[in-house]
Amino acid sequence: MELLKKTNIDFIGMRKISFLASGLMAIIGLIGIIAIARGTANMGIDFSGGTEMQIKFAQPATTQSIRDALAKSGIKEAELQEITGGNQVLVKMHKSTGKSADQVAEALKAGIPGNTFTVESSTEIGPSIGEKLKQDTLVAVALSMLGIILYIAWRFDFKFGVGAVVATMHDVLAMIAVFYVMHREVNILFITAVLTIAGYSLTDTVVVFDRIRENMHKSIKDPMIVIFNKSINETLSRTIITSVTTFLAAVSLFLFGGEVIHDFAFALVVGVVVATYSSIFVASPIVALWEQHAVETKVEAV
């Protein structure tokens, strides 16, 4: 079976549209980063500090009744989120409220009599841990980006390294943009997903770059844009197939993996799509234009 016969699509020619779309995504992503830095995004308590509890009730309990019960005991700033299946609810409080998991349990016991519950999980994190995590995360992201640039620059050349990093940054920003717009929680698992996708996206990009390099040696006379387009088309089938298999795995995590990794799996699904897009529409066009420009200036100089 073959999904794609020999294709001949002018990917580089579509750069106006793709650059516009990617630029827009990147800007939203940057806004998201600013929101994260200022703490106005939907931050997980591992970054902000605070308390999070997953509570399972014996009988159905409405979020309103839980909210009332908590308010009665002076816990007003709790965020409630229903978990699908099994009368479960997630209670999240940021550090400013200063209420502990025990206090929440007491409040619910007093406020909703007759409906027993079990605390499935509870997490309390002090603010200093969150600060340290933020710093560690920044260092981790910076280090992995640096490692990638160095490796690609060594294996290919500097232009490819930059192209790969721009594409990877694009994926990171796009994932942040999606999470920001959908108001999903930014926590350590999200960062993990982002870094994983960064690695995955690079795999995709490297495969295309590899082919470009091969074709550049083969046909020196062809203009850059032709070589790039040809390479992308030649690897298109592989790019799509791998994305499909990884996408299938990620989707099955998203649908069946359970509440704890729901957002994490969602980030992976988004990431796989974005990473595939970027290796075709972002990484190569940047290098192509740069190479083209270099060739043209060289010709002019002669």
Partner: protein, 532 residues
């Protein structure tokens, strides 16, 4: 002879090794002959999968330094008194100094000589006059303070380990993290709240005389004598649960402390059926207790734990023999825990809980179940897709993927790595990614076939040309996985471990394992068309 026998043997060795390492995980009870060098450990499950409590605690090390300065001050008071050197006041000043206020320069010189001999590590600041008195300050330098802080954390770690051992938790993890933090993991713990209270209690036990000359009911912090302090006795009514507080004024200086204990046991009072804790002093403690009780018959002494008075009995007679009892309004569990903390010793400094993650056992089971479910469905989807798209070759890739997972699980088990829920997610993700290398190779083979090469030539060319690409892509993925491993904790680390191991193993399965299958097949069977 194409030299593929060794490759096939290698694959079989790996398969057998993986199965051996996975047996303890998959089999409920190991057969009798399973002994000796054969592995017995199941795959370690993270706390998010088996339930339990993960604590990060900070030892307030500055308090430990202050505590040791307090001790030095007390000790100097005693030494000076013993040598008939008169002083007005000796006490800790701020976080790093001890100040001695003396009456004249003459005694200051003698004191200085004494201090130098007794505490050579302390730095003596120049003596200065103030308000008709002579002030002398001793400072603990940075390095010495650091040594004490370091020792305090090490000691706290040991004490916490002791307490947890006596509390009875299977396979706890107690580790130091960074300068001041201690990480405690208690898998499968039933009553996390009780455990946390037990671990986090400073458990500083002190016996202090009650100052009966002051009326405690009207006393305030400002109105009591300088060497007294205002504490309160908390009593919980066992029927109503109501807490009542009685203030008491006691001497600041403790006559006996918990360090002089050798044993503490829970006992039940036969008359009132009330639990109490029986304590035994060591010889120094017994002598002190004997002296103090003899000198203070008729007075009350307060038994103080972490600045809360447990009880304040009247000394009816001289108590020799070195045993005493702590009674108070506690339940049997509380008394048992008190006995544990007294036996294990006090923490050198208070600890603060920075992070407390508790996962219930049912959520953990649920997570394993759902993770496996997602994995199974993911595998099925990928397998059927590959079989459909690449036919027989797709099945070879699928076999490679199954080997990949088997080896990965085996490696996780052999290395004693911890499997977390994100770790399971990494494995599921690897199902999708692991066929990637084969997809790359197959697409290459298809291209070579289109150029008119024979199946075997196309196969070799496909593997050869894809090799560098596969290496490059794996190395870049490995870079990010390694960074995640370095910086991640708990679940994230589990993810990074699974991911990086999977990437390395994938290199082997895709480049060696699937290739050898093709080679062996094409050598024996003459094929006209490759099913790819």
């Amino acid at each position: 002879m194409k030299g593929y026998t060794w490759r096939i043997s290698l694959i079989f060795i790996f398969i057998i090794a993986s199965c051996v390492y996975l047996t303890p995980t998959l089999v409920d009870t190991l057969p009798k002959w399973w002994s000796g060098l054969l592995p017995k450990d199941k795959i370690h499950l993270g706390l998010d999968l088996q339930g339990g409590t993960h604590l990060v605690m900070e030892v307030e090390t500055q308090k430990a330094v202050e505590g040791s300065l307090d001790l030095i001050a007390t000790d100097l008071e005693d030494s000076l008194t013993a040598q008939n050197l008169r002083f007005k006041k000796i006490g800790r000043l701020g976080g790093d100094k001890v100040q001695l206020t003396l009456y004249d320069r003459g005694s200051a010189d003698k004191v200085q000589a004494l201090v130098k001999k007794k505490y050579p590590d302390l730095e003596a600041l120049p003596v200065f006059d103030e308000g008709g008195f002579v002030n002398m300050q001793l400072r603990i330098n940075e390095k010495e303070a650091q040594v004490r802080k370091d020792r305090a954390v090490a000691q706290a770690l040991e004490t916490i380990r002791n307490r947890i051992d006596q509390f009875g938790v299977s396979e706890p993890v107690i580790q130091r993290e960074g300068m001041n933090n201690i990480v405690v993991q208690l898998p499968g713990i039933k009553d996390p709240k009780r455990a946390i209270e037990l671990i986090g209690k400073t458990a500083r036990l002190e016996f202090k005389l009650v100052d009966e000359t002051v009326n405690a009911a009207t006393a305030t912090v400002g109105s009591i004598p300088e060497d007294d302090e205002l504490l309160s006795e908390k009593r919980t009514d066992p029927q109503t649960g109501a807490v009542s507080e009685t203030p008491l004024v006691v001497k600041k200086k403790a006559i006996i402390t918990g360090e002089l204990l050798t044993d503490a046991q829970i006992r039940i009072d036969s008359q009132y059926n009330q639990p109490y804790v029986a304590i035994e002093f060591n010889s120094t403690g017994a002598r002190l207790f004997d002296q103090v009780t003899a000198a203070n018959v008729g007075k009350r002494f307060a038994i103080v734990l972490d600045n809360n008075i447990y009880s304040a009995p009247v000394i009816r007679e001289r108590i020799s023999g070195g045993s005493a009892q702590i009674s108070g309004s506690f339940t049997e569990k509380e008394a048992a825990d008190l006995a544990i903390v007294l036996r294990a010793g006090s923490l050198p400094a208070p600890v603060k809980i920075l992070q407390n993650v508790t996962v219930g056992p049912s959520l953990g089971r649920d997570s394993i179940h759902k993770g496996l479910m997602a994995g199974l469905i993911g595998v099925l989807l990928v397998v059927s897709f590959m079989a459909m798209y690449y036919k027989l070759s797709g099945m070879v890739a699928n076999l490679g993927m199954v080997l990949n997972i088997l080896f990965l699980m085996g490696a996780l088990s052999a290395l004693g790595a911890t499997l977390t829920l994100p770790g399971i997610a990494a494995i599921v993700l690897l199902v999708g990614m692991s066929v990637d290398s084969n997809v790359l190779i197959f697409e290459r083979i298809r291209e070579e076939l289109r150029l008119g090469k024979t199946p075997h030539a196309a196969l070799d060319a496909g593997y050869d040309k894809a090799f560098l690409t596969i290496m490059d892509s794996h190395v870049t993925a490995l870079i990010t996985a390694a960074v995640l491993f370095q910086f991640g904790t708990g679940p994230v680390k589990g993810f990074a471990v699974s991911l990086s191991l999977g990437i390395i193993i994938n290199l082997f399965t895709s480049l060696v394992a699937t290739k050898v299958l093709f080679d062996a097949f094409l050598d024996r069977v003459h094929v006209k068309r490759l099913s790819v």
